[in-house]
C-alpha cells in the first residue's frame, strides 16, 4: 500500500512537472537581485511572439533579434553575437509557472552558455 501511494505521488509530481514544461516562454523573464529592499533587474530575456528574443541590461538592449524555437521542454536559440556558432539547445526547467532556469544541453557559444546557465528567471508582469 505504501509503495502504491509513493508511486501515485511520484506520478502526480511528474504529471504536474510536465504541464509546467509546456508553459510558453513568450514574454519577459528577469534575473533579479535584491538590495536595500529594492529589486533590480540584472538581466531581462524577452521572448517575443514572432520567434525572436532580445536581452536587456540596465535599460539597454544587449542582445537583439536572436531567434528561438521551443519544443516542449527544449529551447533552441541563436543570435548574431554568437555567429558562426550553430544554434544552442537548452532544457527548460520550470520551477513554477513564473520561474524557470535554462540548462545547456549543447551550445558551442561560450558566452551564451556561461551567461545563461547561472540565471534563475522570474516571469515579469505585463
Amino acid at each position: 500500500m505504501k509503495t502504491v501511494l509513493t508511486l501515485f505521488i511520484i506520478a502526480i509530481f511528474f504529471s504536474c512537472s510536465n504541464k509546467e514544461n509546456n508553459t510558453s516562454l513568450e514574454g519577459k523573464w528577469a534575473y533579479n537581485h535584491s538590495h536595500d529592499d529594492k529589486t533590480y533587474h540584472d538581466f531581462i530575456a524577452y521572448f517575443k511572439t514572432d520567434g525572436t528574443y532580445d536581452g536587456i541590461e540596465d535599460g539597454k538592449v544587449t542582445i537583439a533579434g536572436g531567434r528561438y524555437t521551443q519544443n516542449n521542454d527544449t529551447m533552441y536559440m541563436n543570435d548574431a553575437s554568437c555567429n558562426p556558432h550553430p544554434k544552442g539547445s537548452y532544457k527548460i526547467i520550470m520551477w513554477a509557472k513564473d520561474s524557470m532556469r535554462l540548462d545547456p544541453i549543447i551550445d558551442s557559444c561560450d558566452n551564451r552558455r556561461e551567461g545563461t546557465k547561472r540565471f534563475l528567471f522570474k516571469r515579469m508582469n505585463k
Binding site: 536587456i56 539597454k60 537583439a64 533579434g65 555567429n83
Partner: protein, 315 residues
C-alpha cells in the same frame, strides 16, 4: 504664557525644517559622483591650469571631442581620437589600446600624461590638499583628504553616472514601440546583423564586445600606430584597437582611433570596401576580406540605425 508656548513651538518647527532641508541639500551634493563632476570640469588638474577633462570630453559631443586629435596643455596634440567618456560602466578595457583595466586606473592617466594635462599625480594631490574647498569635500565624502585613490574614485564615480539607456532603438526593442524608429532604422538593423556583418564585432550592451580587432588601418607607413601590440608586445596584436562602442556614435565624429573619418557615411564606405582607402594594410581582420557591396539605400539605412542608438543620460 500660552502665546509664548505657541511661538516657541513655531520657532522650533521652522528651525528644525530649515536644518533638515540644509542637511538634505548638502547630503545630495556631498557625494563622490558630484565631487567627480566638479573635478572633471575643473582646470585645477592640469599643469598650467588651462584645461580640464571636459576640454576634450565635451558634454555636447557625448563626452567625446569633435576634432580628430584634441589639443592638450600648450596645444600639444595627442596621437589618438578622444573616445566618449559615456557608457563606460561595464567596460573591461580603457583607451584605444586597452592599457587600463579599470575606470579608476584610467581616470588618473590623462592627468599625468605630458601631452594631455601634464600634472604629476603627486602634484595634483598637493594642489587639492591646498585648496580649502576641495580638501573639505574630500574629508566630508571619504573621511580622509585627497589622495590618488580618492581622486580616482571620485572621477570614476562621475563617469559611471554617464550612462545613456533608452535610446530610440531600445524603446523599439524593449517596449515594442514600433513608432520609436523609422522603417529605415529597422532595415538598417537587419543589414547591421546580416549583410554588413557589423554585429560580429559590435554586440553587447554598448555594441563593442570586449575584444581588440585590426580593421585595416595599419600599413606600417602612412598608418603607423601599432595599437594593442605596444601593450601586449604580441606580433599578432599589431594594428588592433579596442572595438568602439556604438551608443551615441552620431554625436562623436570624427571616427576611428586616429579620427580619420569625418562622418558616419565615410565609416560605412570604408567598411564597404577597405581597399579603396588603405590599399596595403597589414594583418587586417578576415571579416573584412571581401567588399560588402552595400547599395546606396542600404548605406543610408545602416547610418539611420546607428543614429537610433543616441540616448539621453539616465537620471
Amino acid at each position: 504664557m500660552k502665546w509664548l508656548l505657541t511661538i516657541s513651538i513655531i520657532v522650533i518647527v521652522i528651525t528644525t525644517t530649515l536644518v533638515y532641508c540644509t542637511s538634505a541639500n548638502s547630503k545630495s551634493t556631498d557625494t563622490a559622483e558630484v565631487l567627480g563632476e566638479k573635478l572633471f570640469f575643473d582646470t585645477i588638474l592640469s599643469g598650467n591650469k588651462t584645461i580640464s577633462c571636459a576640454s576634450c570630453h565635451k558634454p555636447e559631443f557625448a563626452f567625446a571631442d569633435s576634432i580628430s586629435l584634441s589639443p592638450g596643455i600648450h596645444g600639444r596634440l595627442g596621437v589618438r581620437n578622444t573616445p566618449s567618456a559615456m557608457n563606460v560602466s561595464d567596460q573591461p578595457h580603457f583607451f584605444w589600446d586597452g592599457r587600463a583595466a579599470t575606470l579608476e586606473e584610467q581616470a588618473l592617466i590623462p592627468i599625468a600624461n605630458p601631452d594631455e594635462m601634464d600634472l604629476p599625480i603627486d602634484s595634483a594631490i598637493q594642489r587639492l590638499k591646498n585648496d580649502a574647498v576641495y580638501n573639505q569635500l574630500f574629508q566630508n565624502i571619504f573621511k580622509e583628504g585627497p589622495s590618488a585613490k580618492t581622486l580616482a574614485i571620485a572621477l570614476s564615480k562621475f563617469q559611471r553616472s554617464l550612462e545613456t539607456p533608452n535610446a530610440p532603438f531600445d524603446d523599439w526593442r524593449i517596449n515594442d514601440n514600433e513608432k520609436a524608429v523609422t522603417a529605415s532604422v529597422k532595415r538598417g538593423f537587419a543589414i547591421f546583423n546580416k549583410k554588413a556583418k557589423c554585429v560580429q564585432c559590435h554586440f553587447g550592451t554598448n555594441f563593442n564586445n570586449t575584444e581588440f580587432r585590426n580593421i585595416g588601418l595599419f600599413d606600417g607607413k602612412q598608418f603607423n600606430d601599432s595599437g594593442r601590440s605596444a601593450i601586449t608586445k604580441l606580433p599578432e596584436d599589431i594594428g588592433k584597437f579596442k572595438i568602439g562602442p556604438l551608443r551615441n556614435i552620431a554625436l562623436t565624429a570624427p571616427y576611428m582611433h586616429n579620427g580619420m573619418f569625418k562622418t558616419l557615411r565615410e565609416v560605412i564606405d570604408y567598411y564597404d570596401d577597405p581597399d579603396k582607402v588603405v590599399l596595403h594594410s597589414i594583418n587586417r581582420d578576415s571579416l573584412l576580406a571581401q567588399p560588402l557591396h552595400l547599395t546606396e539605400q542600404e548605406k543610408v539605412d545602416l547610418e539611420n540605425f546607428l543614429r537610433s542608438l543616441t540616448g539621453k543620460r539616465s537620471e
